[in-house]
């Protein structure tokens, strides 16, 4: 498991609060045992689903159980929700043109009336779904959506652009469908199943109260640097920042490579025709020159394929991870905000407790109340009662907030564990496919040059009869 430091950091934090460490232990053990088995096993898909646990309600505390069940089920590899995106279709309206994608769902979950659905959704609908999920689960990591516009493919109706977008949307929905909590969301189900008009109506219901609350929390926390942030999250925070920087650099390098390759391609595409032109004035070299021209043209074509694939299948998926780091940063900020609220309450409680201690030893003879003719003891008692009441309330509040913080931490921790695992697998796949593409490119170029040699040499035997070349150059290969 990609425990990038924060799980080790969590050890330092065991004495934080009894509830936390207790829960953590409960959640950690199956994690470790489950991982050792599944770690390098072939994970064909992002199958990290809490499948079969349809009785779980989508509550905060459920995430813990969901997380546990996820690791148990990972080995079974049972899915009960499959989503597939295909068939982009352009709609030309009077005001605007847009593209819808077909979203196909297959499921055995009992919340769904049918086992198969097929609906059409446009990008904005995906955007709505993501916002809704983020509002509902501020402490969960909601996968990112591709950016609305692409810099490279300016025509957003071009088949290439749609192919890449379709893949990105597919990935987005799959990540949600495989998520033990998000996949049970009501809005997600509506998104997958509702008829067009039902869906529009549902969307109009607007964002819930929760959304606004988290929004405000979000805002406070933006400038708030949590000093008491547990080390595991400090490490997570630092890691995400470092990672986003690295992937950002990767992305820029990737752009540079594409740019250099594109410029190389322009030159290369001019090179082949010159050999053809030359063949007009070289009677006996026509086959050789045409062989050169052909080989260069072929390499040109292979290069073009590499450039396109490089952007669509490497740069774009890489971008998803840049967006992922942003999403994680946002969740971390929201977690901070929750902890801040808790910390503030604890501070307040401690202050009241101090006050109470002060009060116990204080002499109220010279207080304003005593001055007004009241019995100093009564005044003291009154104040004490008030403080007791305050403390009682604050304690209750603190406990609630503690629960909330613990839940948030657990949610985030679980999501990050899953994310790390996925990340490693995704990046591995991504880099491997990039290497594969390069290898294939070179193999194809190699073949075309081998072909060229054969053509150049084959004619040799016919034309040159007086001077036979001394070394026969693998004409049999």
């Amino acid at each position: 498991m990609a425990d990038t430091g924060y799980s080790s950091g969590s050890k330092d934090e065991e004495n934080d609060s009894p509830t936390k460490s207790e829960e953590k232990r409960a959640f950690k053990d199956p994690l470790i045992s489950g991982l050792d088995v599944t770690d390098d096993a072939d994970m064909e898909s992002l199958s990290l689903d809490a499948s079969g646990k349809s009785d779980l309600s989508v509550s905060r505390s459920s995430s813990l159980i969901a997380n546990l069940s996820h690791f148990e089920d990972a080995e079974d590899d049972t899915h009960d929700l499959f989503v597939h995106v295909d068939d982009p279709e352009k709609h030309t309206g009077t005001m605007e043109s847009y593209v819808t994608f077909r979203v196909n769902t297959k499921t055995t979950r009992s919340e769904y009336d049918d086992s198969e659905y097929s609906v059409r959704r446009r990008y904005n609908d995906f955007l709505w779904l993501r916002q809704r999920l983020e509002e509902t689960y501020p402490t969960h990591l909601v996968p990112p959506l591709p950016e609305k516009h692409s810099l490279r493919r300016l025509d957003r109706f071009s088949p290439e652009f749609l192919r890449v977008r379709q893949a990105a949307l597919q990935k987005f929905l799959k990540r949600i469908a495989d998520h033990p909590v998000l996949s049970f969301d009501k809005s997600f189900q509506v998104f997958l199943t509702a008829k067009a008009w039902e869906f529009q109506a549902y969307k109009k219901q607007g964002t819930g109260l929760l959304g606004r609350v988290t929004d405000s929390l979000h805002n406070i926390s933006a400038s708030y640097m949590n000093k008491n942030r547990p080390p595991e999250f400090v490490i997570m925070y630092d890691y995400i920042h470092a990672l986003s920087e690295k992937i950002g650099v990767m992305d820029r390098i990737c752009q540079r490579v594409s740019k250099e390759q594109a410029e190389h391609l322009i030159e290369l595409s001019e090179w082949g025709p010159i050999y053809t032109l030359w063949s007009n004035s070289e009677e006996e070299l026509v086959p050789s020159l045409l062989a050169m021209s052909e080989a260069v043209d072929k390499c040109c074509q292979y290069m073009r394929e590499v450039i396109d694939a490089n952007d669509d299948d490497f740069a774009q998926p890489l971008k998803e991870y840049i967006l992922f780091t942003d999403a994680i940063k946002a969740v971390l900020r929201r977690r901070d905000a929750i902890q801040m609220e808790f910390d503030a309450t604890v501070d307040e409680l401690n202050r009241k407790k101090d006050e109470r201690e002060q009060l116990k030893i204080s002499d109220q003879t010279y207080s304003i109340g005593a001055f007004l003719g009241k019995d100093p003891e009564d005044v003291k008692q009154q104040k004490q009662d008030k403080l007791e009441h305050n403390i009682e309330e604050l304690t209750k509040q603190m406990e609630e907030l503690n629960d909330k913080t613990v839940c948030a931490d657990t949610d985030l921790r679980a999501d990050m564990e899953r994310w790390h695992k996925n990340k490693q697998k995704d990046l591995k796949e991504l880099f491997m496919s990039q290497a594969d593409r390069q290898i294939k490119y070179y193999e194809k170029c190699l073949k075309s040059w081998e072909g060229a040699i054969r053509k150049i040499q084959a004619k040799d035997l016919e034309f040159i009869t007086t001077e036979v070349p001394e070394e026969p150059t693998q004409s049999d290969s």
Partner: protein, 432 residues
């Protein structure tokens, strides 16, 4: 080059020649068609020299020319090997001499004086070791081409260029070869005045231009491509750096990332080798581009010959016309200048006319002889030139096929390198 009959057994009688006789003569008698069949020539060890004369410092490279007689039957005094130093401008002198002495032959070109068709990362300095090394290789090829030539390889100045250390320059100048080259000046405008230029030379001229421009285009684009190839590889080294840094913040991914980064660095480094190899292809093309100039020189020389021939022809026809006019005498009622003259100054007496005709007949006879002589020379020139051009073309077809094949082999090698690096990188990733 073709050494097909090198293996032919040397007849024992050859050994009976006196040791004083020069190997060149011996070789001719032994039926060697060119120098390469009995001599090995190498140009090696470029060496930088600085000479200060009259307070002016002159820095240049000298190249060691070594020869070895490979046919034992021709060995004479000593061990049959020589070695001496020559600098570039001596090569130039040799080539100038040959060009003037053998106007009908396609003289192999010398390597370029300054680096051309460069990509950005290539050395521009003409003292750069890489450039000097490439020049050395090209100078060797130049000598080998001369040595393989049936006529040029028999030239005494060439032989002594290879073997005679002292006073070679003076000997060359003493041949007064430059006087023959004066006709080159004429050639500049000759083309416009030719009445019936030989079609084959016209075609050759066009061909030379096409050859030059096609290769120039290839080289131009290759230089730009080299820039891009360099860029692509170097940017991949950046991947190497990022992977390395990235591995610092990962745990399980760290090792695979790091080693993958290493291979990206390797990939970046392979570019130097690739571009150096490609430079060889460029050099080979450059030689043929320079050959275009050699061909054009032959064409220009032909034009001079043709011009002389046509002038001789004109001379003859003029004389013949004059004679005819004189023969027609008064009957000619034309407005010609001679007619006018005879009207104004009074006609010639028959005696005078008789004498004039006689004089003209003399001149015509002379002109006819001249014409025949020039005609023969021209024809000889044309024959020699066409034969040599034919030889050049055959060599060219053979060479270019080899050059293209080598280029393709080089590409295959590079592809294999690429495959190897990316496969290693992929192997690292499987451990991720």
């Amino acid at each position: 080059m073709e050494e097909s009959d090198r293996s032919s057994p040397s007849t024992p009688e050859l050994l009976s020649y006196s040791a004083d006789e020069e190997p060149l003569e011996l070789a001719k008698k032994a039926g060697k068609k060119n120098l390469l069949q009995w001599m090995e020539i190498t140009v090696s060890e470029p060496e930088k020299r600085t000479v200060t004369s009259m307070k002016v410092q002159d820095t240049f490279y000298v190249y060691l020319i070594e020869t070895r007689i490979t046919d034992n039957s021709l060995a004479c005094k000593g061990d049959g090997t020589t070695s001496l130093w020559r600098r570039y401008n001596e090569f130039e002198l040799l080539r100038n001499y040959l060009e003037c002495t053998y106007p009908a032959l396609v003289i192999p070109p010398l390597p370029e004086k300054k680096p051309s068709y460069l990509w950005q990362g290539a050395p521009t300095d003409k003292f750069d070791p890489e450039f000097v090394e490439r020049r050395r290789a090209a100078l060797e090829i130049f000598l080998l081409r001369l040595a393989a030539h049936p006529i040029l390889s028999q030239d005494r100045m060439f032989i002594s260029f290879l073997q005679q250390d002292e006073g070679w320059k003076e000997t060359v100048y003493s041949t007064d070869f430059q006087s023959k080259s004066e006709s080159r000046l004429k050639a500049l405008s000759a083309a416009y005045r030719l009445k019936k230029p030989e079609k084959r030379f016209e075609e050759l001229k066009n061909y030379s231009n096409e050859l030059e421009s096609n290769i120039a285009n290839l080289l131009k684009i290759r230089a730009r491509m080299a820039d891009k190839v360099y860029g692509i590889h170097k940017v991949h080294s950046n991947y190497g750096r990022v992977f390395c840094e990235w591995s610092g913040i990962e745990k399980e991914m760290a090792e695979p990332l790091k080693s993958c980064g290493h291979y990206m660095n390797v990939y970046g480094q392979t570019v130097e080798g690739i571009l150096e190899e490609e430079e060889q292809y460029a050099d080979q093309l450059k030689e043929y581009m320079a050959f275009a100039d050699s061909l054009r020189t032959v064409c220009r020389k032909y034009e001079c010959m043709q011009y002389d021939f046509e002038r001789a022809e004109d001379n003859l026809t003029n004389k013949q016309i004059q004679k005819e006019q004189l023969n027609l005498g008064k009957a000619g009622s034309s407005f010609s200048l001679t007619g006018m003259k005879s009207k104004i100054f009074g006609g010639d007496t028959p005696e005078q006319r008789e004498q004039k005709i006689k004089q003209l007949e003399e001149q015509i006879k002379q002109a006819d002889v001249d014409l025949r002589k020039v005609g023969e020379e021209t024809q000889k020139f044309i024959d020699t030139a066409l034969r040599d051009i034919d030889r050049f073309k055959r060599q060219k077809v053979k060479d270019l096929k080899e050059i293209f094949t080598n280029y393709a082999i080089m590409q295959i090698k590079q592809c294999k390198k690429g495959i190897a690096v990316w496969t290693s990188a992929k192997d690292c990733l499987t451990k991720m």
